[in-house]
């Protein structure tokens, strides 16, 4: 076992675990990603309720833990303990398997997401195709759930969501193809479908694809950004679960753990499609200006960002401690928040130490493994930061825009997004041929 671990630390394993054929590290990565995504979904749950509340001048969860920080845990326990009801007239087997399909599709996608040049479970030759294909399987879970419930609202929700997903997938796919076309703008003239290859192509060409052939890349990105909201059934395109019309849409009859599996799948899919957008258009794991500001000094400055982010979070938590009303009722909460702030500060200290220690260009095994570790943290940090921006945008959209009507939704998909994305694809191809 130590052999496996050392093989990574001393740098003899390059690339992703899948590429190196190292099943041990592949398994470790799968565990890390699974845990990380689940924790991110819980954090997102808290953030969404808090942010939505503040948008609407409410406080949101305040009772469980300081500022409701422990609310997701309480929710999870509640959902696990709740009675799991299967309607008498439902199709038992299909009702049981539907959430699993959605969850499986949502998590299978994470095998190819590149958190860094070697921080992915595997790098497939068909990476982006695999992602689009498997994430389109997620709709099967929703459709089947709506049907198996044997009830009217879920069935209508399922019909709506399948029609919506199938029609937005077309525009989404065309926008993706126009970005893939840009990867072929190199000396050999061959593009790539591999997720890591796409980010490397942006690095070689020295430009994020969102700015490439301005404004073509930007338009394709905007089309994708709209289609991905429809694809994940989020507001303002959440026709499948429009509570004012369909109670809760396809998961009306679900309760307890099974319902929470649907929620987990939905948020995991949101993170997955955001990572597609980040990989294709926003330079994936790259920090800002990797080619322009390439001096070691700049490298060092940018490597301080992860630590500084945690310093900021710790400062926010400290402000919360100071502002908490002085009353015996708040004593435990104040202590808890102070401990949380100290924890964040400790993480910040650790990250800053690694950033400083990884700076030296030493050739000893210990020093070079610290440098590699620092690089890995940087890559994952920038990737996660970009994805986090998208996750915040999802909340912001939900708070800002009213829900579309179903015919409006279809009109936008087929009559606006599809022609524009086709046009962008053709113009990108023409410009690419002229330039090369």
């Amino acid at each position: 076992m130590p052999n496996f671990i050392m093989s990574y630390l001393d740098g003899s394993v390059r690339g992703t675990p899948g590429e190196a054929g190292s099943q041990f590290w592949a398994l470790i990565y799968v565990f890390i990603i699974f845990t990380g995504v689940s924790v991110a979904v819980m954090a997102m749950n808290w953030l969404e309720r808090k942010a939505l509340a503040h948008f609407q001048i409410r406080l949101g969860p305040m009772r469980v833990g300081p500022h409701g920080l422990l609310q997701p845990i309480a929710d999870a326990i509640k959902l696990m303990l709740k009675e799991d009801i299967i309607p008498a007239e439902a199709d038992q087997f299909v009702f049981w398997i539907a959430p699993m399909i959605g969850l499986l599709a949502a998590f299978a996608v994470y095998t190819v997401i590149p958190f860094g040049p070697s921080q992915a479970v595997s790098d497939m030759n068909i990476g982006i195709l695999f992602m689009l294909g498997v994430s389109s399987l997620g709709v099967l879970g929703i459709v089947v759930a709506g049907w198996a419930s044997n009830s009217h609202y879920p069935l209508i929700g399922a019909l709506r969501s399948s029609a919506q997903m199938v029609s937005y997938e077309v525009a989404m796919g065309l926008a993706v193809v126009s970005a893939i076309l840009m990867t072929s703008m190199n000396a050999s003239g061959t593009g790539t479908l591999s997720m890591i290859g796409i980010v490397r192509a942006q690095q070689e060409q020295g430009v994020w694809f969102i700015f490439k052939f301005f404004p073509l890349g930007l338009i394709a990105f905007v089309i994708f950004a709209i289609a991905m909201i429809a694809e994940t059934n989020r507001a303002p395109f959440d026709m499948a679960e429009a509570e004012s019309e369909l109670t809760a849409g396809y998961h009306t009859e679900y309760s307890g753990l099974r319902w929470s599996l649907f929620m987990l799948a939905e948020y995991a899919t949101m993170i997955a499609v955001s990572s597609i957008a980040v990989t294709l258009w926003l330079g994936g794991w790259m920090r800002p200006f990797p080619n322009l500001l390439r001096a070691p000094a700049w490298d060092f400055i940018f490597s301080l960002f992860p630590g500084l982010t945690f310093v900021g979070l710790a400062a926010i938590a400290l402000v919360g401690v100071v502002r908490m009303p002085v009353h015996s009722f708040f004593r435990i909460q104040r202590i808890g928040l102070a401990v949380f702030a100290a924890l964040l500060g400790l993480i910040a200290l650790l990250l800053l130490t690694i950033a400083v220690a990884g700076r030296s260009v030493d050739t000893t095994v210990a020093a070079s493994s610290v440098a590699r570790f620092r690089e890995g943290i940087d890559h994952v940090y920038w990737f996660v930061l970009k994805v986090a921006v998208f996750m915040y945008l999802f909340i912001w959209y939900r708070a800002t825009w009213p829900r579309y009507r179903f015919d409006q939704l279809m009109r936008v998909g087929w009559k606006v997004l599809l022609p524009i994305s086709l046009g962008v694809l053709v113009v990108t191809a023409i410009v690419g041929v002229i330039v090369s």
Binding site: D91, V94, N125, L140, S162, T190
Partner: protein
């Protein structure tokens, strides 16, 4: 890198495909049949992966499992399953089915008997890492030349375009 194309995976995927294929035609409930068909399609995609053809596997998933089966389910959900499940299943179509099955069986047997002459005796050493690029070269040609399948590919795309136009004209009375 160790090959993933081990006999274990082949028998697992092939067995899964055959079992779910049988389930497709034996289930009375149309939605259960459709779900079994999805499992068949996915395991066939796995077999493509074992043949070092990841692009074909990806297209199989995105087109059949993701696209066509969703539309299948969409239609099936609107059909009254109560009535269709009570109908007699073996109606007068069985001679046609039997003939088709016998033809397929004969084809398989002849392919198995003459296999050595028809197919290469070992798997071609195609690099998995450039499968997509090779397919592109076959379909669109390489460096200005027409590929071996360019003409057939273009004819097929025209045929599909005609089918799309036909579908639009048939469903929309007034355009």
């Amino acid at each position: 890198m160790n090959p993933v194309a081990t006999p274990f995976f082949f028998y697992m995927l092939a067995g899964l495909a055959v079992i779910s294929g049988v389930l497709v035609i034996t289930r009375r409930n149309a939605v259960h049949s459709a779900l079994a068909l999805i499992v068949t399609l996915l395991s066939v995609a796995g077999l493509y992966l074992m043949l070092y053809a990841p692009f074909v596997a990806g297209v199989q998933i995105i087109v059949y499992a993701g696209g066509i089966m969703v539309l299948f389910l969409f239609v099936i959900m609107l059909v009254n399953i109560e009535r269709s499940s009570k109908e007699r299943r073996f109606n007068r179509m069985w001679p046609v089915g039997l003939a088709a099955a016998c033809t397929l069986l004969a084809l398989f047997v002849s392919a198995f008997a003459k296999g050595k002459a028809l197919f290469p005796d070992r798997m071609m050493s195609l690099p998995e890492s450039s499968n997509t690029q090779q397919i592109a070269a076959m379909l669109y040609g390489d460096a200005g030349k027409m590929g071996p399948y360019t003409f057939a590919f273009e004819v097929a795309s025209l045929l599909l375009l005609a089918a799309i136009l036909g579908a639009v004209i048939m469903t929309k009375k007034k355009i």
